[in-house]
């Protein structure tokens, strides 16, 4: 699992994840994601290159979403794969972790 953090728009952050978001992947993203979320800026998590997500990975995303929400921000997932989307939708988490399919859509989602 690799995590890259960059600016997104005027006041947001883009977190790009690459690899498996399993137990090991979750350990890798734990601190950096929590740090970004702690700043309470809106976050776009680019999930394009995440080919697997385990419940522990979902937990970190949910914690980040909750932290961002406390500062009136939002966290959206950009373009997750079919498999990851299915897990999120099946788990009923797509409300808490909204899925967008493009950066434009992400910008619009974060404005809401």
């Amino acid at each position: 699992m690799q995590i890259t953090i960059s600016e997104f728009g005027a006041s947001g952050k883009k977190v790009t994840l690459v690899g498996k978001l399993d137990i090991r992947g979750a350990e890798v993203i734990d601190l950096p994601l929590a740090t970004v979320a702690g700043a309470r800026q809106s976050i776009v998590v680019d999930m394009t290159a995440v080919d697997f997500i385990a419940s522990i990975g979902i937990r970190h995303l949910v914690l980040a979403a909750k932290a961002v929400a406390r500062g009136d921000g939002r966290l959206v997932l950009l373009n997750p794969t079919t498999l990851v989307t299915e897990v999120l939708v099946t788990s009923g988490l797509d409300q808490l972790l909204p899925i967008v399919r493009s950066e434009d859509e992400a910008v619009a989602a974060l404005r809401r």
Binding site: S55, R59, S91, G92
Partner: protein, 528 residues
Amino acid sequence: MSRKLPDRPPALTPSSTMPQEAQREAPAILSIMLDSVAQGTAMFGQDLRLIGWNGRLQLLLDLPAGALSEALTFKDFVGILVERGSSGTQSARAETAIRQLTTALEQPYVTERMLSDGRVIECRRHPLPDGGLMLLLSDVSEQRHAEYLVKDSERQVRTILDRAPVALAVIAQDDGLLKHVNARFRRLFGLDKSISPESIDLTKYLSDEDLQKITGVQIGETSSDFESMVHRSDGSEFWALVSPVRFVFEWAPAILTGFYDISDRRRAELELRDELHRKQAELKEARTLQMELTPPPLRGSIGQRSFAVDIAIEPAKEVGGDLVDYLTVGDTLLVLALGDVSHKGAGAALFMARTYSLIRGIAARPDAAALFRDPTGAAALINAALCNNNTTGMFVTLLIATFDTESGKLAYVRAGHLPPLLRRRTGEIERLAVLGGPPLGLVDTATHKSASVDLAPGDQVLIVTDGITEAADASGVQFGESRVREFLATARPDEQTPLARLLETVRRFEAGQPASDDIAALLFAVIA
């Protein structure tokens, strides 16, 4: 130049039994022989004056021409000899040398003298039978230098041993006796300085087996280190890493043995091992307790309705976060629950136990039938309780299904859990896919909705955790829902423990790969 010995000395006069011609040539032959020997020779008469010497003598003492003459007394010669010495004639040592060489002349005497050029000359004084003396001088420099080098080398070895930052002992190969120990060895073994190495009996400190390991070490052996308990004479003990290597000490085969005090490390290891055993025992107990939360498979009936519930649960670690339960509520309801906490191990196990207690607690309430008849009521209470003070973000996906034995209706709420599979008696398999809401413990404001389905005798409902669908083979291919469906297609309501067959299929699929997640499944079959 030199006065040749054979010219006069009676002892060197040719024998009277020799032929005339030989007698004539004997002095010359003896002269050649004496000049050819490696020793310098000088002979003094009864009056202790020099009567003869060979050329080698002059060479040895590096004497100038004319230094030796027949008028020279033995004492004068000794003066010359001592003068050639490195300390000259003025030192106390020189005076001692002169005194020793010139007294008790009737006795043989041997001494050595180092010349100023570093050569060492051995001087042997022999009294002659008829009075007089003979001196034999030999250059023993090479021999003495070699001996000196050996002694110096041994001294250096001892210095190195004594200064080494580790306890060292030199043990003789033949008899196992100690030849040398350094100060660190004495300190480590609690031995006084006055005790000589030879008197230290290693059998009192080390076991026979360990001593044999030391004395049995072979030349070039690289893995001869071992750990040993050493018993001091005062009754105390310590752990040592013993490191023996073959060695030559004072020209004899020996074993240089290092003793590293590893008591602290051993103590830490033992404490760690004890701690590990304690934790393992605790986890084993926790596993037993957790497994006891899971009820056994059931074949029973409520009213006119008979049914079977088969259960399987296997934590990936000692304890796990999967939950399987069933219970009766009121006179007509059978509640089935299967959950999966969002992690593994002890934390997940506690969260699982918390969820289990909440379900059981709700079942004990007077309004339990209402809360489970439409299981959204129970789900809302569980969610609220799990969200309370949940800073870790841990959550549980939970499927609560309530079978009304009177109506035959199965009402279920799917809180983020995998959809159950319903196999109709006719063989059709369908997903109970209606989503009730997110997992429990995540969003305190979440509301869940339920759905229901009518069941008939012969119908079976299978609920699994993702530990089954996501079990992977060596190449990473997952077991998947399709294989779960294949199993369900073959399950029969009258089968005793069909889920054991499912678990066996999963394990076979994993082909020895370690289980990466907890596994749980519940199969409910309406029999009549």
